[in-house]
Symmetry: C2
Subunit: 247 residues, 2 copies
Amino acid sequence: MLDINLGSDFLNYIVRQGYQPGDRLPSIQELTADTHLDMSANKVREQLEVARALGWVEVRSKRGTRVKHYNFTPAVRLSALYALACGERFESFASLRNHVEAAYWNEACALLTASDLSGMQACIDSATQKLDSPPIHIPNPEHRRFHLGVFKRLDNAFVLGILEAYWDLYEEVGVNRYMDYDYLRRVWDYHARILQLIRVGEFDFARQAFIEHTRLLWHERDPAPWRLESGAQAAAQNDLATQPRKE
Amino acid sequence: MLDINLGSDFLNYIVRQGYQPGDRLPSIQELTADTHLDMSANKVREQLEVARALGWVEVRSKRGTRVKHYNFTPAVRLSALYALACGERFESFASLRNHVEAAYWNEACALLTASDLSGMQACIDSATQKLDSPPIHIPNPEHRRFHLGVFKRLDNAFVLGILEAYWDLYEEVGVNRYMDYDYLRRVWDYHARILQLIRVGEFDFARQAFIEHTRLLWHERDPAPWRLESGAQAAAQNDLATQPRKE
DNA sequence: TCAACACATTAATCCTACCAATGCTCGATA
DNA sequence: TATCGAGCATTGGTAGGATTAATGTGTTGA
């Protein structure tokens, strides 16, 4: 076991005790005893709040605290949300997400099972139905599930954490407010094409389609339509997942 | 301004007040007043501890609390450190870092100035001197500075946060314990080659060299040398930054 | 057998007190 | 006038106690 210092006695205590997901932590009163942490309940609660904010434990009122399965998402989401509130651009995080998806694309696709592909097809069907039948609902849950579905076999908590956090930010920032019907149709046409390319093993072409389809978002959201003629192409080259490669 | 909910009254208060980096927060006593947050000092301190753990504020004892420049690194480092302590593999994070560096490689190189390249050269010189003159010191600071130097012009706090956190984890986990002299020489030979290729604008070849040089680490660290003959190639294909592309 | 009640546990919140370090004010001294 | 230092207010750090309300458990009794 690594002897890791998390910068707080309580957090170090948690990991050193080797609790497993689902295990119950001692009550706050017990932790204050000198046989455990020997600190005041206030201090325990301060650091417990950090563990809760980062999604390491689940504190259920009057019932105790339980250790959760590790998940990178809460830390990424919380810090990135704060960043956006401080003026950081959503496009910066979207750029990271696009690059990560493009970089892992082929190996993730190679791991997909037939059942995974069926699940992605179900997303497309559900989304298409929502778009076809008025009143039109924006198929945001399907959009999220479709993209995360590509990477769910990767078995890398850090990669999946970033991708999941992207969709949380996506909803919080309210990107969907800028969407129109045409955009949604084109996006889901791309999704169908991407899935088809994955099915036949053309992962490179599928990735190229993914990269193209990410550019739709910024063209739609950009409130300056004149940039579409002049500098939009260059902007997309810089900001988005333009996987640099020789063709 | 986005109306973002960080899941805590205090954190929401900070961002809504629109403090700038360097600004001083009201004292904890003031914040408890009903004109500000109207909560007890204990609760303020609980949530202040979250802001401190994520590197949003600097709490200087008896002197007050100041807002810091936003930085993604603390959140990533803290959560990833916890993950490693919980049994997550360092290789998972290294894989993310390798993919991110490979994905941003070309556009990052394109932004480098002559002065940036000089700084990278200085790292190589300093590292070479450390390796040449006994007693041999491991040039870890140079290694970190060299790699971060490639990406420092990206102007993307999230990308830089992940790359910086990687080096923090690298030191905390103690990867360097497994290094021998031959490994270090080969790594720095690669660095010199990478810088030369960047200088002449051959970003693709430089990236290829980067990807190759990341594989050195795992071959050295792996305590099972027999895998080098049989499954090492396949393992590298899966675990590391094998940017999938047609040659 | 099962429902109702009593009791222990526990997180949530608030308050007070004390400590120690810091920074500022103001007055004494050269 | 300039400078040093004592004293004081501010502020974060820590501890402990009190209360509340929700939850779970065990006991009692029809």
